[in-house]
């Protein structure tokens, strides 16, 4: 009961904060008085409801979600595997580090434009999402591997535990907090770069495409409505992944030890 009351209180505080900022938005919108610069939250909500009545709205969201998930999953898969190899082996770390540093330092726009040359418009966002998320996952995995308790590794060495078991039962649980942090950061970035890529590559069904059209036709309420959709999806994804990663039952990882 006590926990439930605390939970309710926290929820109420969050709701209050959201309402507060919506009111601020409304006031600023009224002060400016021109919808083209800043539409009111009520008008934006109305437009959002109108958009939601159209099948294309949902298809566009679905396709953008697909691109984010695919790009993100590829970066997770490769980031974890290559990160583990680089964390364990200095040679591979030295080999991959310049590449990762180069990708990190390259402006997103350059990557999107290069990707436009290489890929069809449907795949540009997937590639850019992968390329931008990969360094974050990779860096966190490498850091996680380096932070593994040396005492546990010595214990495994003395008891001649096989390398694969050491990776699974010592390295993997140790790097989980680093991986969780990396996934959360990468996912937020993944949304931003995917939508940015869609704006420039304009695939048929995409949130970015709608953002681009709204900008071209000066439809500010639509622009804000679609931006709101991106924020909500990014927020939702981040929370779902955070919850999933934090709640991975470590016993499940170890059930057959």
């Amino acid at each position: 009961m006590k926990h439930f009351i605390t939970f309710l209180k926290n929820r109420l505080r969050s709701v209050f904060a959201i309402i507060f900022w919506l009111i601020v938005w409304e006031i600023i919108s009224l002060l400016i008085g021109r919808e083209i610069y800043l539409p009111s939250p009520i008008h934006t909500a109305k437009v959002l409801i109108e958009l939601a009545a159209d099948f294309t709205f949902w298809l566009s969201i679905l396709m953008s979600v697909f691109r984010v998930i695919l790009g993100f999953m590829i970066s997770c898969f490769l980031g974890i595997i290559i990160g583990i190899v680089c964390g364990l082996n200095r040679f591979f770390y030295e080999l991959f580090n310049p590449l990762v540093v180069a990708v990190k330092s390259t402006p997103v726009m350059s990557i999107i434009i290069i990707a436009l040359l290489w890929f069809e418009s449907d795949n540009v966002a997937i590639f850019v999402c992968f390329l931008m998320c990969f360094p974050i996952i990779w860096t966190n995995v490498v850091q996680g591997i380096w932070q593994v308790d040396e005492n546990l590794l010595q214990m495994a060495q003395v008891y001649k535990v096989k390398e694969l078991l050491v990776i699974r039962y010592i390295y993997m649980p140790s790097l989980m907090p680093y991986l969780a942090a990396g996934i959360t950061t990468a996912l937020g970035l993944g949304w931003k770069v995917t939508v940015a890529s869609e704006v420039l590559s304009s695939p048929k069904y995409s949130i970015g495409g709608h953002l681009y059209n709204a900008k071209v036709y000066l439809q500010s309420p639509q622009l804000f409505a679609w931006t709101g959709v991106v924020i909500l999806l990014s927020f939702g994804f981040e929370h779902v992944f955070k919850y999933a990663v934090e709640n991975i039952n470590k016993n499940k990882l170890l059930k057959d030890v």
Binding site: N151, Q154, V158, K250
Partner: protein, 214 residues
């Protein structure tokens, strides 16, 4: 075949821990190493177990030998239960059924049969040490290395564990090397006792055939 350390030299930068150090451990006997803190006893165990390199010298009698090691710290995986920690070192050596039986047997030996599903953070320091002892005894190492194995345990428990250890040891008489500060404990357990001191480390006294088993 005894373990013979010959002319061992080990430096940490300017600090000479061992310089032309020689010592021998009889096969099938328990040897205790007594000496002040920081004199190099743990380093010697680590060198013998292959965890630490050395600058010069040789060690014989270790060919294809495996070790059970009770470290000074418990070195339990914090995300695994006590039972899983023991099972971890037995995997690939026994079948699952055998692993289950062995784990149960050694948890019982150290009085932790009710705590197999507990995580290390849920246990006291002494209980964690007992779990580490169970892991070392459960593992079929040819040589048993013990770095202050009974440290932090109350007298009653310590007596019980020492007795369990002696009866277990009687079964297969593994070569055992034990580091301790406790002269009485060494006299209760060990066949041979080396009293070590100095920097670089040297043997101050050797008591052979101590023979006082509990």
């Amino acid at each position: 075949m005894p373990i013979e350390v010959r002319h061992l030299t080990k430096h940490y930068g300017e600090l000479k821990v061992f310089e032309d150090f020689c010592i021998a451990f009889e096969e099938g006997k328990i040897t205790a190493l007594l000496g002040p803190s920081g004199c190099g006893k743990t380093t010697l165990l680590n060198i013998i177990s292959g965890l630490e390199p050395y600058n010069a010298g040789s060690i014989s009698g270790l060919d294809s030998k495996s070790f059970s090691y009770i470290f000074q710290e418990d070195r339990l995986m914090p995300w695994s239960t006590v039972e899983q920690n023991i099972r971890f070192v037995l995997r690939g050596r026994y079948t699952d059924t055998e692993i289950g039986k062995i784990t149960e047997q050694y948890l019982k030996m150290v009085g932790l049969e009710q705590y197999g599903h507990y995580y290390p953070r849920q246990l006291s320091g002494g209980m964690k040490q007992r779990a580490a002892i169970a892991r070392a005894f459960a593992y079929p190492g040819d040589i048993l290395l013990m770095d202050e194995p009974f440290k932090g345990l109350d007298e009653e428990l310590k007596t019980g564990l020492v007795q369990s250890f002696i009866s277990l040891w009687q079964k297969d008489k593994r070569t055992a090397i034990m580091v301790t500060h406790d002269r009485e404990e060494a006299q209760r357990i060990a066949d041979d006792i080396y009293i070590l001191a100095g920097k670089p480390l040297g043997i101050e006294e050797k008591i052979v055939g101590n023979g006082k088993k509990c």
